[in-house]
Structure formats: C-alpha cells, structure tokens
Symmetry: C2
Subunit: 395 residues, 2 copies
C-alpha cells in the first residue's frame, strides 16, 4: 500500500487532524480555505488511501449534523529512541497518542546489530500485545551525529561500530515501512514542539544534559541541522581554560565539566575524599555513582552535591547565555537525565542567563525543565516520521 498523500491540501488536512484531533467536515471547511466540493474530494481520496476515516456524526449546530473525520484508527507510528544507556520504543496512533511504550537498559557500544535487534524485540512485544498490526512509519533517534539525508551516524564519539552503519536502510527493510533517522536531541526537540511546552513556540532551544550534552535547534517550527548535520553540538564548547581533559582531546569542554559522565566522576571523587558522607555511603552500597545519586544527595541536603550542581549550572548558564544572545529563542528547555537535578540546576542556569544576556533577548524568555521527560524522544520520533508520511514527500 503506497499510502502517500499527493498534494499540499491533503498534507494540511492530515496534520490538522493529527494535531487537533477529530474534526467535523464543516469545521475543517472553515479552517482550511477550500470549497466544499474540493474538501470532499480530498477527504475522499484520503479515505481511499486508508489514512482518514469517518467517525460518526457531530452534535448539531442548529441544523443537520456534520460528519466527523479523523485520522484512520488503524494508522500506527513507531518511535525508537536509542540513548547511550537505554532503548525506548513506543507505538502511537495517527494522532501520536502513545498506545504502548517499553524501555530497556542497553549499552549503545554493543553496536548496531545487537542494539537494533533489541529495539525490534521491544517492538515485537508491543505488537504481541496487539497495539499494532501494520506500521505506517518509524522514526529513530540516535545518540550522536547523524547524516539525516543518508540516515546513518557519522563518526559518533560514543557509538563505536556505528560509523556509517546504514540504520535507515536496515530498519526500513526490516519493518517494510518509511523510516527516518536523526540525532536524539533533535528528536526530543520535535517531541517538545509537538506535545510539550514548546507547542506554540516557533524558535526554541532544547538543551539535553545526558551522558553528553547536546542542543536541539528549532527554527520556524522545523529542526535546524546545519550544513553537515552537526548543528547543536555544544558539548565541546570550551568554558574553562584550565578545565579537565575531554574525550575529544581538548581541555575545558562543557561536557567534560558537567556531562553525566563528568558528574559521576566528580561524585566518586567527593565520596572518596570524605567530603560527602551521603555519596560515600551510596558508593559503598552500589559500587558506583551516577547523576541520580548526586540529585538524591542534593535533595537530602548534602552540601557538596548541591555545590556540584550549582557549579555545573553555572557552566551551562555561561554557554546558554551566549547562545541566547546569538539565537534569541522564545523558549529554552532543559532535558535529559541530569535534568532530574531539578530546580537547583534550573535556578542557577536562569540566574546566569538572565544576568549575562541582554534584556531584549531575555525579556520574555522562559527557561524550563522538560515536562515530557523520557517520552519526549519517542514522541518526537513518531512526529518526525508522521510529518514525512503525511507530507507525501516521497522517498
């Protein structure tokens, strides 16, 4: 079934039904400026394609009841969010409502064969539950630089073995449906733009602080990827001339000062030195420390942990202040595991940004934590592929 719309009107109708939910024919006619005959024609075609279906009658507005149209209830999109240490897979309907969501810990360094197999396995479990039969498209987010056009990772630092592996090709053959592959940060930004706080904002930034640090850039409602697809790669901006050495070879990179890895490293140091009893206890219990432990310590009132977070917030704030002056966004979202550090971090970032950027740029600039959390990635992935499938941009 080559269920692809073939014109702009159909694309508009599909996106409207996806984002605003079911709508009566009469309402659709008022929103999109089309004659009744044209509207009926295009809707008929979409019904024939199997992308739209009628769903009973609307309540009367004083006369004959109008027929309700919606995205076909059998439409299914798959979102796959591969992180450095986890895999998330979700299945949504045509309105991008999550019907099923599974997650599993995984080490991306195991390579594409193993990791993609695990993702397919999760999808298999969801299918076994009956949430999906046929799949209309799948979006995939990967934790590193991706060539969007080619659908493959390019020299990813934390994903050895993935370099130039044809993820798009492999997965579209496996799933027999359209597939798009993008950077996980971009995918999260799309998720926030679709279902999160950025819904009404055209230009915004999403800063993800996970194992590494990246930034999704949305311009005019669309992901900006730069000329070689590496836009938003802010983890290696230098913030401290005398900082620690980073995996990239330079010193003082943002990521080396406050990524998940850096935070864990500093936490271990603090525990061993005896400056933080809380972290020392955790370390002896579990044998390792993560960003979550630091968050827990700070919440429990541990001074050293609090100081670590404030310090990190200052570094993020410094970089963000520059980017805000440069990009003048309407919103900044902080996301990623480390975002669990919560309001201590947020307060520090806000204070630095508001102090260092010009009033014209910060005057009406909310800086917020992601509301979607772990689902932003998978939702964004389905949004990515649904935009593609609904646009009729043929492969």
């Amino acid at each position: 079934m080559a269920a692809r719309p073939d014109n702009t009107h159909q694309a508009r109708l599909l996106r409207l039904l996806r984002d605003e939910g079911a709508r009566s024919r009469a309402e659709l006619g008022e929103v999109v400026q089309l004659s009744r005959s044209k509207l009926a024609l295009e809707l008929d075609r979409l019904v024939t394609l199997g992308l739209v279906e009628s769903a009973g009658l609307a309540v009367s507005r004083g006369g004959r009841r109008s027929g309700i149209m919606r995205v076909a209830s059998r439409v299914r999109f798959v979102g796959i969010d591969i992180g450095a240490t986890s895999i998330d897979v979700a299945v949504t309907n045509g309105e991008l409502e999550v019907l099923g969501h599974l997650s599993t810990p995984a080490d991306v360094r195991d390579g594409p064969a193993i990791i993609l197999d695990q993702a397919l396995e999760l999808l298999g479990k969801l299918r076994a539950k009956g949430v999906a039969t046929e799949i209309n498209g799948a979006g995939i987010g990967l934790p590193g630089p991706v060539s969007f056009r080619e659908g493959m990772p390019i020299a990813p630092p934390i994903m050895p073995g993935w370099d130039r592996f044809p993820v798009l090709e492999a997965m579209s053959q496996e799933l027999r449906c359209p597939v798009l592959v993008d950077n996980d940060v971009n995918v999260m930004a799309l998720g926030e733009s679709h279902a999160g706080l950025a819904r009404s904002v055209d230009n915004f930034l999403l800063v993800k602080i996970g194992t590494g640090i990246g930034c999704g850039i949305v311009v005019n409602g669309e992901i900006y990827r730069g000329v070689s697809g590496s836009a938003g790669d802010i983890g290696h901006i230098r913030v401290d001339d005398r900082g620690p050495t980073c995996s990239c070879g330079n010193t003082g990179c943002l990521e080396a000062l406050f990524g998940g890895t850096a935070l864990a490293r500093d936490a271990v140091v603090a525990a061993r030195s005896g400056r933080s009893p809380f972290l020392a206890e955790r370390l002896s219990e579990t044998g390792a420390l993560t960003a979550q432990d630091v968050a827990a310590a700070a919440t429990a009132g541990d001074a050293v942990a609090g100081q670590m977070i404030r310090e990190g917030g200052r570094h993020i704030g410094k970089v963000l202040a520059s980017l805000v002056s440069f990009f003048n966004p309407g919103l900044v979202i902080i996301a990623g595991e480390v975002a669990d550090l919560g309001h201590i971090l947020l307060a520090q970032i806000r204070s630095v940004v508001y102090q260092r950027s010009l009033p014209l740029a910060t005057g009406n600039l909310p800086i917020v934590l992601s509301e979607l959390g772990g689902t932003a990635g998978v939702i964004g992935a389905t949004r990515l592929i649904s935009d593609h499938v609904f646009s009729g941009t043929h492969a």
Copy 2:
C-alpha cells in the same frame, strides 16, 4: 502604479531575471517548468506591470531566434545603509547592479530627523545625476536592534533618540514606494548572500566588527531574526571574567574588548604609555586614534599594534568557535571597518576556531574576509526590498 506580481510563477521569473540576468524566453521555459503558453502569459502580465521588458533577439540555437527578456530597465531600487559614523546610499537597477553610490560621514546620534534627511539629500544628488526617476522600493539598514515587522529601532544602545521612531512609515511616505527596515548586519549578510562569497551557501554567519560587534545569521537563504528581532547580538557575550566594563553595564563583553571603540581606546593607551612609537606619532598628528590607525601600525610592523590585533582575534575566535559548534554554518564572513586589520586578524581567528571546534563542523568551513566591503550594506538593502517587491507580498 501598483506594480506587484500576483503569483509564485511571476515571483520566480523575476528573481531569476534579477539574479541570473537577461534570459531568452526559450531558456526561461527550460528553467521554470512551465508550458510555453503559460510562460508567455505570465511574461505578458509582467510586461504590462512594467517590471519586465523584451530586449531584442538572442543568437540562434539552430532555428528561429528567441526573444530576450529582462527586468525592465527603468526599475530602480534604493539601498540606504546607516552606520554609526556614516551614511551610504546607492541606487541600483532591477538586476541590483549599482548605478550610483554616495557616502558621507555622519553621526547617528544626531537623531532620525537629521540623519534621514541627509540620506534623502544623498539620494537627491543621485537622482540629479539622472540615475533614477521613479523608485520601485527602498531598503534601509540601521546600526542597532530593529523590529522588522514594525520597521523601527527598538531600544538601540548607540542610537539615542531613535527608539521606536517609525522609520519605515516616514520614509515610505517621503519616497512614495515600498520600504523595509532592518538591522545593518542583517542587511550586509543579505548583500554577501546576493553578490558576495556566500552566493551558493544556504547557511552562513557574517560577523561585523565595527563600532560594535554583531552577527548576521542566514538560515536556508533567509535572514534569521529570532523571536524579538535581536538574534545575532553577540557583542555582549562575555569572554573574559576580568575584562573591562562595557557600556551595557556588564564586564568582559566581546564588544568592550575588541569593538572599534575599544580598539581606539587601547590604541590611545598604548600611544600614551610610549609602548608604540607609531601610534604615539599618529596620535600627536591627528589628536585621536581609530581602528584604521592600528591597522596601519600593524602593517608598518608595530609590535604592540600587532599584539592588539592578535589578542582581539583570539577573543573573536573564542566566541566564533562556540557559535560554529552550535550553528554548523557553511561559511563565516568577517566584515566591518575593523576587517581592514586583514590577515593578521583572520589568521588568528582561524587558528582559534579550527582548534576549538569539532572537525565535523570545521571540516569544510571557510572563514573569509568580506569581498564587498562597504557596498555589502547597500546591496543587501536593495536585495531586501527587491525580494519583497518581486514576491508580491503586499503591504
């Protein structure tokens, strides 16, 4: 004469004729995918509107000779580039070739009434020479934040008295033609995108180092202005925690370290302290020093001046390295008076950026000096308004 095209085809034809020059009807037919009859129809309409005219016959391609079409020779656009210390006015034909260009020193702090009058006076002189009778549109660049939609400056730091002055309204009434107003840096970026090194680059940055420091951002061939129009305002990014106090109140701003004003200030200090005999002599000759004097000193082999430029280049490079990582542009252009400092500056900037940004972003990233120099602004201004007039985006 409401000479506005009314559809996309006409806009495409006009832009093609503007950017690629006169073309035979046959060639136009091959480039835009239109049937011969439709093409003839649209061209006829454009001729009726007075925007296009025929210009003789092309050489034969083996059969009947084709008729050449071009943008009407009577079409005139005006570009006005108001800088902190100068006014440039140029008149171009419909292909944006400069027919006349006048420049005068001026102090923007004299306020809108005086400055805009001076600009109109320059335009009057050009008209007196006969380069223009009727004017189809005018673009204006101003040295500060501009609300593009409203066509007026918003809280400009170096333009007291201009705040919310309705430049667009005033000038369009005066000139009786469509007018657009934008930040001078954006306008320069458009100029480089039209006639400079950025012609084939979709995403690039133009860093202007003049009295202040600003950055024009081009995304997908169009100026990105941000949500409140202040995007690219990089002059007040902090680069040195212990730097001098800036006019904005913060310390260590890029602009306070290496703007034209800062450079002149440092030059005077160097001259008075006796460390630079060259600058001392210049100072005693003219009673003041500018960026040009520093450039001259460096060229003459003055060690202190060279050091000042290298130091400045390092600061610019630091900021630029961050922006390159973030934005992943295909080109960076250095422009402004201070760009006269030339290759010493450029070499320093390149060295810092290439060292500090990731290979994926810098792999194919030229960093160059502006070729257009002083004309980038006026050309960009005419490009701005011609895009508007040719698009049929009615006022």
